[in-house]
Amino acid sequence: MQSVLKTPGEMGADIAVAEGQSLGQPLSFGGPYLGIMTCTKDMVRQMPGRIVGRTNDIEGRTGYVLTLQAREQHIRRAKATSNICSNQALCALRTLVHLCLLGPEGLVRTAELSMERARYAMERLTAIAGVRPLSTAPFGNEFAVRLPVPAFEAVDRLTARGGMDDVLLVACTEKNSFEQVGILAEMLGGIL
């Protein structure tokens, strides 16, 4: 969404945090995910974790280096309230590749496609009797609706729908041979 929205800085924020899972991280039952934190320059020394700065060496070449090394982990040590871990680098790399592949146009399209679908969902859901939008404020790709029953109950009823116990889903790809399909048919015929 940030690819189409005004930046938090432009909206007056000093600190902004975001969930980065949608930038290329798989759902993975809750993690590992990627958090994004940013702040104004005057607060940067209070940011946890590592900060990479760009500078020039004595031969004038551009270099990247960990900077502002007075991190609380070095000073407060055991009393620090955050830690540094390299595991996040794997998630950061994955998101970086995702952003490089999509580019600005791809990211904007992703946001707009998400918003289109959310508006269609809002339209279809609020057409159901008893379902009302929680507010008329603008929304990105998420919105809330008020249901005539507790929401958890509605979700339980949706997942308990049933009637599919005797349904077998068959998927074929170019990696299945006709021979394999034949074997499936024969064996299924033999056990039914």
Binding site: F29, V97, C100, L102, G103, V108, T159
Partner: protein, 147 residues
Amino acid sequence: MKTAFAASVPGRTACLPAEPKKHAADMLPANLLRAKRPALPELGELDVVRHFTRLSRLNFGVDSNFYPLGSCTMKYNPKFTEQVAALPGFTRLHPLMAQLKGAVGDRAPVVRDHRHARVHPAPHGGRARRAYRGHAYRRLSQGQGQP
């Protein structure tokens, strides 16, 4: 080693989703929209592949060299655990699945690896607490929702 921006050419992209029928300006008030597009490099697939492959060759790590220093991520994780962690049955699992009645239950995924008896336990009628991680685990440990 140049940054990815050095290979950026306006209009290039490696992966373009379908063109949406509406644009942000049609769906949000103008005062919420950014004026400029995000400052990301515009790269083709080949540019991306070459950039990261070059970077990987500059890397010094345990996959190519002896690396005696160790933090938590460099300790003894057997290589096969990377394949297990990448199984689509795990990577495509939504964190809220644990809280949906009937969505997990006795059909929860069970992965057996020939070197280990069970990676993700799902005993019938039992509670697979050990398998949960991240958000789902926090909710469970806070007493919210049911496995």
